[in-house]
């Protein structure tokens, strides 16, 4: 399964109330590194569909959530467990480096 979009309106339902570990990729159209990391996140989501959900939040269209989580740099990837942020990864990284950062959630 590849990544799907969440919005300010669906964030609580889809992310905060998620039973499953879920990672939100905060991104924007104009951010080159965000576009670069996007297919890598798709791959990680597909390969670990049983362990983690990965969703995307466009910071331009959804400023409330971006502000709430004090996003000042994108791509910013935040892992949520039962509504709490348990890990933040900032910046585009190659797949092995991202997998290492997320190792505890992919095991």
């Amino acid at each position: 399964m590849s990544t799907r979009d969440v919005t300010d309106a669906t964030f609580e339902q889809e992310v905060l109330n998620s039973e499953k570990t879920i990672m939100v990729d905060f991104w924007a159209e104009w951010c080159g590194p965000c576009r670069a990391v996007s297919p890598i996140l798709d791959a990680i989501a597909t390969e670990n569909a049983d362990k983690i959900d990965i969703v995307k939040l466009n910071v331009d269209d959804n400023p409330q959530t971006a502000m709430k989580y004090q996003i000042t740099s994108i791509p910013a990837m935040k892992v949520f467990k039962r509504g709490e942020v348990v890990k933040t990864v900032i910046g585009a990284k190659p797949k092995p480096a991202l997998e290492a950062d997320l190792a505890e959630f992919l095991a």
């Binding site: 590849s2 924007a28 104009w30 951010c31 080159g32 590194p33 965000c34 670069a36 990391v37 297919p39 890598i40 798709d42 791959a43 597909t46 390969e47 910071v59 331009d60 971006a66 004090q70 996003i71 000042t72 740099s73 994108i74 910013a76 933040t88 900032i90 910046g91 585009a92 990284k93 190659p94 797949k95 092995p96």
Partner: protein, 333 residues
């Protein structure tokens, strides 16, 4: 961007090429265009997240000849990529994890496990942003400390931010940040800027930009997010603080040579050493181009020129190899 394989369906490849080009900035792509047009079917290892190089993080490029109206950095790089592909270059969006450069056959291993061999390698890995090297820089990176104004500038609407540096990239970042921030300080360790006159003038004439000369950044303050910086005057030693929500670091870049340390000779500047005006490194069959060989000019157009030199040198080298092989064959026949 060319097609990627669908995730999870990767087949490990192992093949032999004429030439492998590592890097996909102006040097790498220009080398690819020339090598492809010489029917060398180059393989370009473009990197998984940094393909296109530094220009992917810039906005308007106004000094690349042929674009009188300017062109966006990412658009310029996409055009170079398409031009290389048009003539038969193959581009792979992955990272080199190891290299074997000695001997007549070179090999390159990628993050996905593929191993490619070639008779010649062109190394065009560019440079990596320099850090200030002070406490809390790493901790607050992504929380107000940034190396990419075009990525992060929009999060500083109506805020006060600072840019550290005195070169073209510092001026560009500062000017770009005025779109969002109310106030942009440019902190520089001396009174002389390295930036081109055009870029300096634009920054100096911007009412939102204020220069803070003769200061170095010694501290970054903030628990969760940056709240300010501590400065030291390079002349008087006086310590001051500046309240800012963002700190953009643009103090230059270092050549990216970690893959070839101990294999290829470097210069005192840390760049790859090349012979005279050529791109020939200390290892036969290995050529280098772009910022990784250039401690001085570091422009898109000089990198592109240097990529041309590397492709022509590699082509000449491959022809010599080919001729030598033919002579050996006819001698033993």
């Amino acid at each position: 961007m060319s097609e990627r394989l669908p995730p999870g369906t990767h087949l490990v490849r192992n093949d032999m090429r004429h030439v492998i080009i590592i890097g996909s900035g102006p040097a790498g792509y220009t080398a690819a265009i020339y090598a492809a047009r010489a029917n060398l079917e180059p393989l370009v290892i473009a990197s998984s997240v940094e393909f296109g190089g530094e220009l992917m993080k810039t906005t308007e490029v106004e000094n690349f000849p042929g674009f009188p109206e300017g062109i966006m950095g990412p658009d310029l790089m996409t055009r170079m990529q398409q031009q290389a592909e048009r003539f038969g270059a193959e581009i792979v969006y992955d990272d080199v994890v190891s290299l074997e450069l000695e001997g007549p056959v070179k090999s390159v291993t990628l993050g996905n496990g593929d191993r490619h061999e070639a008779h010649a390698v062109i190394f065009a890995t560019g440079s990596a942003y320099r850090k200030l090297g002070i406490a809390d820089e790493e901790r607050l990176s992504g929380y107000g400390v940034s190396w990419c104004a075009t990525c992060d500038g929009a999060f500083f609407r109506q805020k006060t931010v600072a840019v550290v540096g005195g070169g073209d990239s510092a001026m560009e970042e500062a000017t770009f940040l005025t779109r969002f921030a109310d106030k942009v300080y440019v902190i520089h360790r001396s009174e002389t800027l390295r930036a081109s006159a055009a870029m300096q003038d634009r920054a100096r004439n911007d009412p939102k930009i204020e220069f803070v000369f003769n200061k170095t950044v010694e501290h970054i303050y903030g628990s969760d997010l940056v709240t300010g910086v501590g400065l030291v005057d390079t002349v008087t030693g006086e310590e001051t603080t500046l309240d800012v929500s963002g700190l953009f670091i643009a103090i230059g870049a270092d050549p990216r040579t970690h893959l070839v340390h101990g294999v290829v000779d470097l210069t005192e500047h840390g760049t790859i050493a090349v012979e005279g005006r050529s791109s020939r490194t200390s290892v036969e069959g290995v050529f280098a181009a772009g910022d990784v060989v250039d401690p001085t000019y570091r422009q898109a157009i000089t990198a592109a020129g240097s990529g041309t030199v590397a492709a022509l040198d590699a082509q000449h080298y491959l022809e010599t190899l080919h001729d030598a092989a033919r002579e050996t064959a006819s001698a033993t026949a």
